[in-house]
Structure formats: C-alpha cells, structure tokens
C-alpha cells in the first residue's frame, strides 16, 4: 500500500514538473524572441551608432588640430 502510494506520488510530481517545464520553455521562447527583437530596434541600436559617430568626430577634430 505504502509502495503504491509512493509510486503514485512520484508519478504525480513528475507530471507536474513536466507540465511546469513545458510551460516555462514556451514562455522562454516568447521572451527570448521579444528580447532579440527589442535589441534590434532603432532605439537599442542608437548608442552603438552614436558611439562610432562620436569617435569619428573626435578623429576629425584631431586631424584638423594637427593640420
């Protein structure tokens, strides 16, 4: 009787865990896609482009001051 109950409990826990992990992995897929799309937005890309533009401006300033 105790053995049967233990086996049943293990099966129930395994089913609950399996369902929870399945739900989480679906959520992760949505989340990671959302994160990827957000990271590709023009707002997210602006600092990278601005960083390079400011470096170019600095280089131009250096050139004009040395010439």
């Amino acid at each position: 009787m105790i053995v049967a109950l233990s086996v049943l409990a293990i099966v129930v826990v395994a089913v609950i865990l399996g369902l929870a992990l399945r739900g989480r992995s679906k959520e992760d897929g949505v989340d990671s896609f959302r994160r990827q799309i957000d990271a590709l937005s023009p707002e997210a890309r602006k600092p990278t482009v601005d960083q390079v533009k400011s470096a170019e401006r600095d280089a131009d300033d250096d050139d004009s001051s040395t010439s």
Partner: protein, 334 residues
C-alpha cells in the same frame, strides 16, 4: 577584464569593434612574412604597402580569398597579432563575434572559430555578413517588413532578404572587388601586352572603373612591363575598355541579386519597390553599380551611410547585446 570584440574578417580589410569603445582597428587583411624563417615582418597597412614590391625572401599575402581561409596557420597568426594590437593577451580573454560569408562551409567555419580561440578568444561565435550589415546599416530588421541588403566585399557578394531579425532568402557568389581587379589585370595583359600588379589594377578601378556609363569618362595612363620587350611601358585605357573587361564579374553579381529577389515571398517582394535595396561593402562603391542593379531589377538601390563599416558595426551591436542576440549566431538557429 577583457573587453569583448566584434571582428569583420574580410578578404580585403579587417575591422575590429571593441565593446563600449567602437571601431578600434581598420587595416588591410595582409601579412608579410620572411619566406625562409616564417617570421612575421608586418601586418595590415604596412604589409599592404609591400604587395608586389618585396625582395625574394619576403612574401606579402592575403590569407583569405573568396571570403575563405586559404592558409589556416597564417590567418591564425594574423588574428593573434590583430588581437594583441587591441590589447588582448593570455590573461585577458574576451568573447569574440566574427562576421563571415554566409556561404562558408562547416570546415571553414570551424577553421575561423579555432583560429580565434587559439589567438586568445575565450569564446568565438560567427554571424553572417549580410545580417551584420543589415544591423549596421540601421535597416528596420526588427519589423515584419522586407529589408534587402547587398554586401559586395573583396571576395564575395551576398544578397539577403531579412525580416523580423531573421534571414528569409539568401544568395551568395564567391565573386567580389578582387575579381574586378583581376579582370582588369587580365584585360591589360591580353589587349595591351603589358603586365600590371594588383595594386595598379585596383587604382585603375578606382580612377576610371564603372559598371554603367557615367558623366565623367576620362582616360587613364597605365604603366607596366611590356611582355615582349620586358621594358617599362605606358598605355592609355578608356572607361569603356574597363567596363568591357569587368562585364562578366558585374553580370555575375547582378544575376545573384536577381536570383535572391526571385526567392522573396510575395508579401515581402512588394516592400522592396517602396523601401529599395541597400548596398554595402567596398565593392558597392564602384561607380554606376547601384544604377546598373537598379536598371536591371527595376528596384530602387540606396547606398548605406556607412558602406565600409556597416558589417563590423552590426557585429559590434551584437557584442553590446550579447545575451539578447546570441540566438543570431550561425549554428544557433540550426
């Protein structure tokens, strides 16, 4: 603590982007070696100036051809020296994202990542050049619209259709601006009987080369070695002759763009008529090329604001948002 790096390992030039700093290195992908000892004598711009002008014991080579590693050992040494120049040592091992042609084989892919790891990278991941170019050219690839990018490099020309952060269609040919230089070299040798070096051929391309007739049709004086007498000789070359010489290469590039367009799903295809296609890469700077592609495809062609840096800027953005964008690495989607 090492700063993570993005590398555009191009056939012609290598650009390095450092996280939080921007582009820290932009040099020709050339290495000069002592033929007898195998010792590295110069890399980058210094080595480029040696091409075709070295004594017998020195050889200045481009270890990448057609976007592929032709000499694994030399490429590894070149990457190691480049990483050293931007501050990477045995104690500072950064994560590295490397841009490679999309048509790269599994063996070539492994060769690039192994070269970067041996050169000091803690982790090396690859990203397709057209995808990086689209990110760097600031195209709205986060939206469900058709974005088309044509990346014409030294050894490869790639056209990609991108929507919602993924590649929808792709077409790549192992033909690029070095093939244009080689076609000019062959034409001058065949029709004028003089031998010219690859740097001279490149200078001719920049001076009078075009893919379509232009307003400015000046001739160029070309100096080389007469194949009959062996003496220095000067000939005049017209832009029309250069167009004839490079026609096969240009046709091949235009045909690959048309093939990519024909692979586009109809919903995205209509976007191109309004939004146009974006041209990036050094080869895209050839006069008349945008007009020629536009004429043959009936789709507007626009030049990127940063044609030479678009690829490394895109990879740089990926390294800045490494966790969010690691799903874009080659292999991650397969």
């Amino acid at each position: 603590m090492a700063r993570d790096l993005a590398i555009d390992l191009g056939t012609a030039n290598t650009l390095v982007y450092m996280k939080g700093r921007g582009i820290v290195l932009n040099e020709p992908s050339v290495i000069a070696l002592n033929r007898q000892t195998g010792e590295v004598l110069a890399t980058g711009r210094e080595a480029w100036q040696m091409i075709g002008r070295t004594p017998g014991y020195i050889v200045a080579v481009r270890p990448l051809r057609g976007g592929a590693i032709t000499d694994f050992e030399i490429t590894e040494r070149m990457i190691r020296l480049l990483l050293q120049r931007v501050g990477v040592s045995r104690f500072t091992r950064p994560k590295v994202v490397i841009c490679v042609p999309s048509a790269i084989t599994e063996v070539e892919r492994r060769a690039v990542t192994d070269a970067a790891r041996r050169a000091g990278a803690a982790d090396a991941n690859l990203i397709e050049q057209p995808m990086a170019a689209a990110i760097g050219a600031d195209l709205p690839i986060d939206e469900p619209v058709g974005n088309m990018v044509i990346d014409i490099g030294g050894g490869t020309s790639e056209t990609a259709i991108i929507s919602l952060g993924g590649i929808v269609a792709l077409e790549a040919v192992r033909v690029g601006s070095f093939d244009i230089d080689a076609a000019i070299q062959n034409y001058v040798r065949r029709e004028h009987g003089i031998a010219i070096g690859e740097r001279t051929a490149e200078e001719i391309k920049v001076a009078i080369g075009s893919a379509d007739p232009t307003h400015d049709e000046n001739q160029a004086e070309v100096r080389g070695r007469d194949l009959m007498t062996g003496l220095p000789k000067t000939v005049l070359l017209t832009p029309e002759e250069v167009r004839f010489a490079i026609e096969d290469v240009i046709s091949s590039i235009v045909a690959s763009v048309i093939r990519c367009l024909s692979k586009a799903p109809p919903e995205l295809s209509q976007d191109f008529l309004v939004r146009g296609m974006y041209l990036v890469g050094g080869g895209g700077l050839l006069r008349g090329l945008a007009e020629r592609i536009e004429r043959e495809t009936q789709v507007p062609v626009r030049m990127s604001n940063v044609p030479l840096e678009a690829v490394v800027l895109g990879a740089g953005h990926v390294i800045e948002h490494y966790e969010a964008l690691k799903g874009m690495f080659m292999g991650a989607r397969r």
